[in-house]
């Protein structure tokens, strides 16, 4: 991969041109990552509003009809409902793992069944989140869909 950087002072926004000989999964994946780069949502913490990069989000959870956005080190509150955020993040690498939680597939470390037929997913920071069996086929489908990216 060759990266050509060019500074043009009159340029108003960053422009990326991808040149390739053949469209394959690597090129397709790269384009998708570039397209998702810079996508952000807003969250509040202690009354201040923050712009959160989608890639920085670990998971989003709904507790008592309140929506919380979890990044590696911080937790933000969102005014949007979980389903609204999921709609925004549909084209990205997020998957719904329960009625109350959507997770960034990039931060999932593993998934396992627990006694009593419960399930949980461990994230790369060691955090554990509940996974609902109802959503298992959707998680599987999401991984299959992203397999070619």
């Amino acid at each position: 991969l060759k990266v050509i950087k060019k500074q043009i002072e009159s340029q108003s926004e960053i422009e990326v041109e991808v040149r390739y000989a053949k469209m394959d999964s690597t090129v397709h994946g790269l384009i998708k990552r570039i397209e998702h780069f810079g996508r952000s949502i807003y969250g509040t913490d202690n009354g201040r509003q923050y712009k959160i990069q989608v890639g920085d989000i670990y998971y989003i959870e709904s507790v008592d009809k309140k929506t919380f956005i979890y990044t590696k080190e911080a937790v933000f509150r969102s005014e949007l409902r979980l389903y609204q955020l999921f709609e925004i993040l549909k084209e990205t690498d997020f998957v719904q793992v329960s009625k109350f939680c959507i997770v960034n597939m990039d931060v999932m470390e593993s998934i396992r069944t627990l006694p009593g037929s419960r399930m949980e997913s461990t994230l790369i920071n060691g955090e554990k989140i509940n996974v609902s069996r109802t959503y298992l086929s959707e998680i599987k489908a999401a991984f299959i869909a992203k397999e070619d990216d």
């Binding site: 999932m108 593993s110 037929s117 399930m119 609902s132 109802t134 991984f143």
Partner: protein, 148 residues
Amino acid sequence: MISLNRIKEFIKKWIMLFGLVSVSITVIPALISGNWEFASTFVQIMFALLVICLLQLFTDKISIRTPILKYLIDLGMTLSVVSFFGWIFKWFEPGYVWMMFVMVIPSYIVGAFLDLVKVKKDVDFINKQITIRRKKINADLGKNQNES
């Protein structure tokens, strides 16, 4: 060596074929001759199964936090549907209602066991995909670090 998937597909195909042929040899002659005596039981069972499947679609959609509770709700629902249809269509002789439990509970346990096997298989598949994904991400990160 025949894989488990192929055995599963074979059994699925066999049972589906059995269902289709059973329906064909009972319902089609009944439609032609107008004599529903033999076919009516099949139609009743089909209808009861349709109701059970529709109700299961509903319980699958609602999120029940403890899966054991979901199994119990599903079993209770199945027993209720079977007893309701049994009562309407007189499937059980008076004094033999316990037969319903003997028929439904083993079938349900087999179904629940197959469900557990499927869950385990899905979990294994997802974990495999996660590992592949993590390897890709780590390789990309390594590449980026080397380039910078």
